[in-house]
């Protein structure tokens, strides 16, 4: 039988704020244990939560970027459970009135080849809500140690519809969602730091069936590649269970990215009964049009729309746009350079950035923001090249030195003797005349119709130019002179 997988993802993303979501002690990663706490974080008696305005702005912006409807009114609820990661014995979350509803994430599936664009589609979202992160438990043989630094960090939960059907779609979804959040300045989405975490709900059903199968929740998928591998593994496991006549049970499984295997976690002792109720300590939030408009004005162009615009406005191939648009700084760098040299030179700019600049940045382990090469450097180099002042190999050398020193290409060309020769057309013509005069045999052969005889003159010309003449210009100059003989 043929099976179809149905996948929904719950993605938790920490919002990048200075302070926590319901109190003003600093939020952050990598600090010594329990140094980011205050009486609210520790739920000491008498403390009250106060909403962080920046966290609200960020989640509304996230909703706008993903085309969500922003709820005109929303509220916060207490999700009650006992667990040492949550000192209040409840987590403040949003139950039945989330701040963002609907929306979608545009994804690109793998194309037939790396340099060919794949199919695009939109994965619909159910909701996005704002809650607080919980503390971190470190498990040892007989006890667990609790660090509350993470507790109270603003956290968005982004819930997709069960609308994905393969591990590749889930991978593409996370890639796009992550880029969107980074573009919007909402989160750095560093999975190693727990800033983006993903749980997957996976079920299978016979193709053509509309009812959902028994779902399994996959947890602890701590890299985007592990999400893809874990989902692929789970789909195979479920099909194997059904094929040998077994039945699937609703459970939570833990995927180990290192071993590529999953195991059932003990199910919680009873069905969840979180007894949600409105948090009386937090007032509802009303979001009006004006507030939305203010944030909409701050929303950047997202990678996919940017990619379409780059392809259209600059006639860039997919191989360039697919590299340029995923990093906002890189895309901005590209456009700043194009502004200096004109759109007709966009492809040259794209080539310099994606081949040379990224190569050097990668080798030096630098971010583009730390690059000594600015758009002005690349524009100047393209100018020199187009004027014939430097040839390809010299330009490549200049680029490397430019990257290392931050000097402008003209200065490097002069200092290193990398300018093309000759610097004026008269000199080239003289070299060509000398070469022709010295080889009457080749002249005769050429005149008799043997085109390759022209190569006999090129050696002496290049020698006179110390190898720095443009072969194309040399060829043209020789032909012009020979034609007049």
């Amino acid at each position: 039988m043929n099976y179809e997988a149905v996948i929904g993802l719950e993605v938790h993303i920490q919002i990048k704020t200075h302070s926590k979501v319901f109190t003003r002690v600093a939020a952050g990663y990598g600090q010594p244990a329990n140094t980011l706490t205050d009486p609210v974080v520790l739920a000491l008696p008498g403390t009250l939560p106060v909403m962080n305005k920046a966290a609200l702005d960020a989640i509304i912006k996230a909703g706008l970027l993903l085309g969500c409807e922003i709820a005109p009114v929303c509220k916060w609820d207490r999700k009650n459970y006992f667990y040492p990661d949550s000192p209040k014995n409840y987590q403040i979350s949003q139950y039945d009135q989330p701040i963002c509803l609907g929306g979608s994430v545009e994804i690109e599936l793998p194309g037939p080849a790396r340099n060919v664009m794949g199919e695009h589609k939109r994965i619909p979202l159910t909701r996005i809500h704002l809650e607080e992160d919980v503390g971190k438990l470190n498990h040892f043989a007989t006890e667990s140690l609790v660090d509350y630094n993470r507790a109270g960090t603003p956290l968005m939960e982004i819930v997709s519809d069960p609308a994905m059907h393969s591990a590749d779609e889930a991978f593409a979804y996370l890639t796009s969602l992550r880029a969107t959040m980074i573009y919007g300045g909402i989160s750095d989405c560093d999975m190693e730091k727990g800033q983006l975490r993903c749980d997957a709900n996976i079920s299978i059903r016979p193709v053509g069936e509309t009812k959902l199968g028994t779902k399994v929740e996959l947890k602890n998928l701590n890299s985007i590649s592990f999400v893809r591998d874990g989902i692929a593994h789970e789909i195979k496991r479920q099909i194997a269970v059904l094929e040998r006549g077994g039945t699937l049970v609703q459970e939570t499984r833990d995927y180990d990215g290192q071993t590529g295997a999953s195991q059932s976690l003990r199910s919680k002792e009873m069905a969840h009964d979180y007894r949600y109720f409105p948090d009386p300590d937090l007032m509802p939030v009303k979001v009006d049009e004006a507030w939305q408009e203010r944030l909409r004005a701050e929303c950047p162009e997202l990678p996919f729309p940017k990619q379409r615009r780059f392809a259209e406005s600059y006639q860039l191939p997919y191989t360039l746009t697919s590299v340029l648009v995923w990093d906002r700084t890189l895309a901005d760098f590209f456009e700043s350079t194009v502004k200096l040299v004109g759109p007709a030179k966009a492809q040259a700019v794209g080539n310099w950035i994606t081949n040379d600049l990224l190569r050097e940045l990668g080798a030096a382990h630098l971010e583009i923001a730390a690059s000594k090469v600015s758009p002005a450097h690349i524009a100047a180099l393209i100018g020199l090249f187009d004027a014939g002042s430097v040839l390809t190999n010299a330009a490549k050398e200049i680029f490397i030195e430019m990257f290392a020193t931050g000097d402008l290409p003209g200065a490097i060309a002069d200092r290193r003797g990398l300018r093309a020769a000759p610097t004026d057309a008269g000199e080239l013509e003289q070299w060509c005349r000398d070469a022709i005069a010295a080889n009457a045999k080749a002249v005769a052969e050429f005149k008799a119709g043997k085109d390759s005889a022209i190569n006999a003159f090129k050696g002496p010309v290049m020698k006179a130019a110390k190898g720095k003449a443009d072969p194309k210009r040399v060829d043209a100059a020789l032909r012009q002179l020979l034609a007049t003989m």
Binding site: H18, T37, D38, F82, P84, L145, M283
Partner: protein, 98 residues
């Protein structure tokens, strides 16, 4: 006011959620008391609320917040002062794996 316990009150479930081990005598007593509370609350169901918008709060106050300016919190010593056990500046709890 004496009434029988509310029909939808499962005292075992409530006790389990609250991590309370109750004796049979306590279960009976608390069922009675909580039942009374629920019956009392049920009276609200008799109020005609036609045309009243549902609300989570009694006061029509919205958009209460503070700017995102971080300020110092507790030192780790102060933060852990109430912890029954600590190690490596963390609170020690019985091993819990969800």
């Amino acid at each position: 006011m004496t009434m029988s316990s509310a029909p939808d009150l499962n005292i075992d479930h409530v006790a389990k959620l609250a991590r309370l081990a109750l004796t049979a005598e306590e279960k009976a007593r608390f069922s009675q008391q909580l039942g009374d509370v629920l019956h009392h609350i049920e009276q609200l169901g008799k109020v005609d609320v036609t045309g009243v918008e549902p609300t989570a709060h009694a006061f029509p106050i919205t958009n209460v917040w503070a700017d995102d300016i971080a300020r110092p919190g507790l030192t780790v010593e102060t933060a852990l002062r109430n912890a029954p056990a600590q190690r490596d500046n963390m609170i020690v709890v019985p091993k819990v794996v969800e």
